[in-house]
């Protein structure tokens, strides 16, 4: 379930913590394993992380379900995280969410048929200065308009 390369990466994180506190690396470990498994965490993946870090399975499950950045269903190649908190909402995020859904033909939380894009509604990403905004991968896209969204979507392959 966890490749040797991933194990190496996880071990590097484990080393950052005192001996016997390997469970501190659980968030990074989940991230690494998720990246390796079509951007989602299956029950087997969670089990594998639990075994690798010598943690109770339910404890890993708690972490994996608490944070929004872990997926439990297969995700698209690109995940659009669109903010719908107060600043973005006041600047028309709700309309943009409707537009995105319409344009991609999916609801938030779903993946496009070609498996390319999925959309997630998320809480504040700390970029209120550029509201409304969304995040794809590591990149923030701010001051969104319908036109700007069209342009960004066209670049996603």
């Amino acid at each position: 379930m966890i490749s040797d390369k991933a194990k190496e990466q996880i071990d590097a994180w484990i080393k950052k913590y005192p001996e016997g506190r390997q469970s501190s690396a659980v968030m990074e470990a989940l991230k690494i394993v998720q990246a390796e498994n079509a951007n989602s965490l299956s029950a087997e993946a969670i089990q594998a992380v639990a075994d690798y870090l010598d943690m109770p399975r339910i404890a890993v499950q708690e972490v994996a379900t608490f944070y929004e950045n872990y997926n439990h269903k297969p995700a698209g190649k690109h995940t659009i995280r669109i903010c719908h908190n107060i600043s973005c909402m006041l600047n028309g995020a709700d309309n943009l969410i409707d537009y995105l859904e319409q344009k991609l033909g999916i609801r938030t939380g779903e993946v496009t048929k070609d498996g390319l894009i999925n959309v997630k509604k998320v809480e504040c990403l700390g970029a209120c200065v550029g509201a409304p905004m969304f995040q794809i991968g590591d990149k923030y896209y701010e001051n969104l308009t319908e036109k700007k969204i069209d342009e960004i979507l066209a670049t996603l392959k």
């Binding site: 109770p56 339910i58 499950q61 708690e62 379900t65 608490f66």
Partner: protein, 748 residues
């Protein structure tokens, strides 16, 4: 810690610096509502219900997480407190269904009680309530998670007490759910305690579900007799039947917890296999008769078989679940008649080689050991409450080493697990002994022993630890060198100033020893009684197929030309085949009596219900039998008179002169260690259906390694002695470990 004074609601009370406010108010009897706080669990401070007003603090403080300070002034009843508690209550009820009449917890629900006092009669919340889909988490606990208020008591119970984190909180915010991983079932041997700690109707007892309301039942304090601890319980009864068993607090015995075995065994009481009427066998046919007829038949039968000077042709055998009083009366009858053929040790192959080892550490002291050595035991399943104390010791920093024939699933960290064949157990102990005695003049039998590293390190730990204990478990009882093992343990313990704990026999076996229910001078032990084919046997709650080490020999002994009196709580085919008279006796909770636990503590209990139909408490039956046999000294008015006579009788322990031998015999074939499933150790448990549906109850395996399997010519998928074979390299060489739900017949 120093005593300090604080002021609560204008009254000055003393407290210990650093303790939490809520433990002070609890001690003083001041009511502070709470849901997440539990005195035996860590503090979560998540429900916010226990808010109190501390002078100087700007906002109300949670009593469960506020340590007390000298001069602190606290108000638990003022307007600020009332308003805060009312607000918290309203939030807790936002998502909680308001349908107490259809909830199984109704009437014993902490939320219901607190809502009555602190709740509002109306809610501002008009939106839809949250609904949580339920999953089946096993045969013991029913879930209704829509009622859950996320106090996390069950989660903390699993982490801190049960020792396996099974329940957890997944999701966040409104999506937070308390559930096990992948909706898997709960497997802990202490899982039933989650029902007790749950303050609402989210976790309730499945076998008891929708049966009764708590106020309809009487609660009688009693003692569970399934292990060496004698957990304190309440038997809750309704219309003469035990309907539920819950834990009763006793910090010296079971704290607040009881094992699932003690909690759910009551189900067996109403099983259809109960023996309800006295029966006698006439010309090979069973006939139901009145008690007086059955007893007269018994007395006549005994007289016919055994003429005046032949009392030694009678033998008495009893199961380990009998009460102290029953053991005492039965041995007294036999001895008054002139027979010393008395025994309760039924499952030991060679009684010449049986273990004698005293326990000299108290349950509460087990918590403060710093080193433990376990030999031949899987304590978690055999003695769950003793294991719980060991777990507490480990959490406090103790190290435990294990010598077993295969690895078991411990719920705490084990320092080293030494997996060795049964014939090497005595050897490793001899090596430990030799390392311990290094400087002292070593004994003769140690001259050819050289200690391996593991033995040396165990010896070092025993020598250096301040409080150490050596625990002897039930896998050793049929080890050919059992007596040497026990003697070596007691010698090592003496040399290293360690305590010993003998958990090799279970249930009420300590009471049997106390009542002197063992063969006396010239008497036969259990195996010898079977081999001698006596003319008459009196059996107390014995089921030959299950209880004897060699049931084939037992059935032969109880065959023709003997007169067998069976006093039984249940009937089965085998017992009716081999008895001549069957007398129905009371089971657990139906008789008064006493249990003697590993501390030597005599815990007496009254009957919670009367015995069903025509069955009677065994001590009464034995008393009448003694009268009919015209024996003197049986004028007891109640069982407590028997108790004090049994406790006060003068017992002399013979010194054990059997020699120690550590010579590991060359190739001796395969050792079989047979252990009953933890839910099949006595007849009541064997009839408790919910327990048998649990994962622990389902365990039914003969484990061995590949080379053993080849020698025995079995393989995975086949059966050995009727038990499915599991081939795993983790089992020691030349050894089969059988954990079985049913008897495996005449075991060589």
């Amino acid at each position: 810690m120093a005593d300090i004074e604080i002021e609560i609601d204008g009254n000055v009370v003393t407290a210990q610096a650093g303790e939490m406010l809520i433990s002070v108010t609890d001690r003083e009897g001041i009511s502070v509502p709470r849901f997440c706080y539990h005195k035996k669990l860590s503090v979560a401070a998540s429900c916010r219900m226990c808010l109190v007003d501390v002078e100087g603090a700007p906002k109300p403080q949670t009593a469960c997480s506020t340590p007390v300070n000298e001069g602190m002034k606290v108000h638990t009843q003022n307007a600020k407190v009332k308003a805060s508690q009312k607000a918290v209550m309203e939030f807790l009820l936002v998502n909680h269904p308001l349908d107490c009449p259809i909830c199984d917890q109704g009437g014993e629900c902490e939320l219901q009680d607190v809502a009555m006092t602190y709740g509002s009669d109306m809610s501002y919340f008009s939106e839809g309530k949250r609904v949580v889909v339920d999953n089946d988490i096993g045969p013991l606990i029913h879930t209704d998670m829509t009622r859950c208020i996320h106090c996390t008591r069950c989660v903390r119970f699993g982490n801190e007490i049960g020792g396996i984190a099974e329940m957890g909180g997944t999701g966040r915010g409104e999506d937070l759910k308390i559930e096990p991983f992948l909706q898997e079932g709960i497997t802990s041997e202490l899982s039933g305690n989650m029902i007790d700690v749950c303050p609402v109707g989210a976790l309730t007892s499945k076998p008891f579900r929708y049966a009764l309301r708590t106020w309809q039942m009487n609660a009688t304090p009693s003692i569970a007799r399934h292990d060496l601890v004698g957990s304190n319980v309440f038997a809750q009864t309704y219309k003469g039947k035990v309907r539920r068993v819950v834990a009763k607090d006793n910090d010296n015995v079971n704290e607040t917890w009881i094992s699932d075995r003690d909690r759910f065994s009551y189900e067996g009481l109403s099983h259809e296999n109960r023996l309800l009427k006295p029966q006698i066998k006439l010309n090979g046919k069973w006939k139901e008769v009145q008690w007086n007829e059955a007893l007269e038949f018994t007395v006549r039968g005994l007289a016919n078989q055994v003429s005046d000077n032949q009392a030694n042709e009678i033998g008495a055998l009893a199961s380990n679940t009998a009460t102290l009083e029953e053991f005492y009366l039965l041995q007294k009858i036999l001895r008054e008649m002139g027979s010393e053929n008395i025994d309760h040790r039924l499952d030991i192959k060679d009684l010449e080689n049986s273990i004698t080892l005293d326990s000299n550490i108290k349950l509460t002291e087990l918590e403060s050991i710093d080193y433990g050595l376990i030999i031949g035991s899987n304590p978690r399943l055999e003695q769950p409450m003793i294991n719980h104390r060991l777990r507490k010791a480990v959490l406090a920093g103790a190290d435990i080493d294990v010598v077993n024939v295969m690895p078991f699933d411990f719920n705490y960290r084990i320092n080293s697990e030494n997996i060795i064949s049964p014939y090497q157990t005595a050897t490793i102990l001899a090596e430990i002994s030799k390392s311990v005695l290094k400087s002292v003049h070593a004994k003769n039998y140690l001259s050819n022993v050289s200690a391996r590293d593991s033995a040396q390190s165990i010896a070092n730990r025993l020598l250096t630890a301040d409080n150490s204990v050596i625990i002897l478990g039930e896998h050793i009882i049929n080890n050919p060198q059992a007596i040497s093992i026990a003697k070596l343990i007691s010698e090592i313990a003496q040399q290293t100033n360690s305590a010993t704990l003998n958990i090799s026999a279970t249930s009420n076996s300590i009471a049997a020893e106390m009542a002197n229910f063992v063969p006396g001078q010239g008497g036969l032990d259990a195996n010898a009684m079977l081999a001698a084919k006596l003319k008459a046997y009196i059996l107390l709650d014995i089921y030959p197929e299950y209880d004897f080490h060699n049931s084939v020999k037992a059935l032969e002994a109880f065959g023709n030309n003997t007169f067998v009196v069976s006093m039984n709580s249940f009937k089965d085919k085998v017992i009716s085949q081999c008895s001549d008279v069957m007398l129905p006796i009371a089971s657990f909770y139906e008789t008064s009596g006493s249990h003697v636990n590993i501390d030597g503590k005599v815990q007496s209990f009254a009957a919670a219900v009367s015995a069903p139909s025509e069955s009677k408490p065994a001590w009464k039956v034995l008393k009448v039998l003694a009268d009919l046999l015209k024996l003197q000294g049986f004028h007891y008015e109640d069982s407590t008179q028997i108790t004090s006579e049994a406790v006060n009788q003068n017992r002399q322990k013979a010194t054990d002169e059997r020699p120690v031998s550590v010579i590991a015999e060359a190739k001796r074939g395969i050792d079989v260690i047979y252990q009953k499933s933890p839910y099949a150790t006595d007849v009541l448990l064997r009839h408790a259906s919910a327990l048998h549906a649990t994962k622990i109850g389902q365990v039914h395996l003969a484990s061995m390694n590949k080379s053993t399997a080849e020698k025995l010519q079995v393989e995975r998928g086949k059966k050995y002695l009727g038990v499915p074979v599991m081939v795993t390299e983790s089992v020691a060489n030349d050894c089969v470990f059988i954990n079985a739900r049913h008897p495996i017949g005449g075991k060589s």
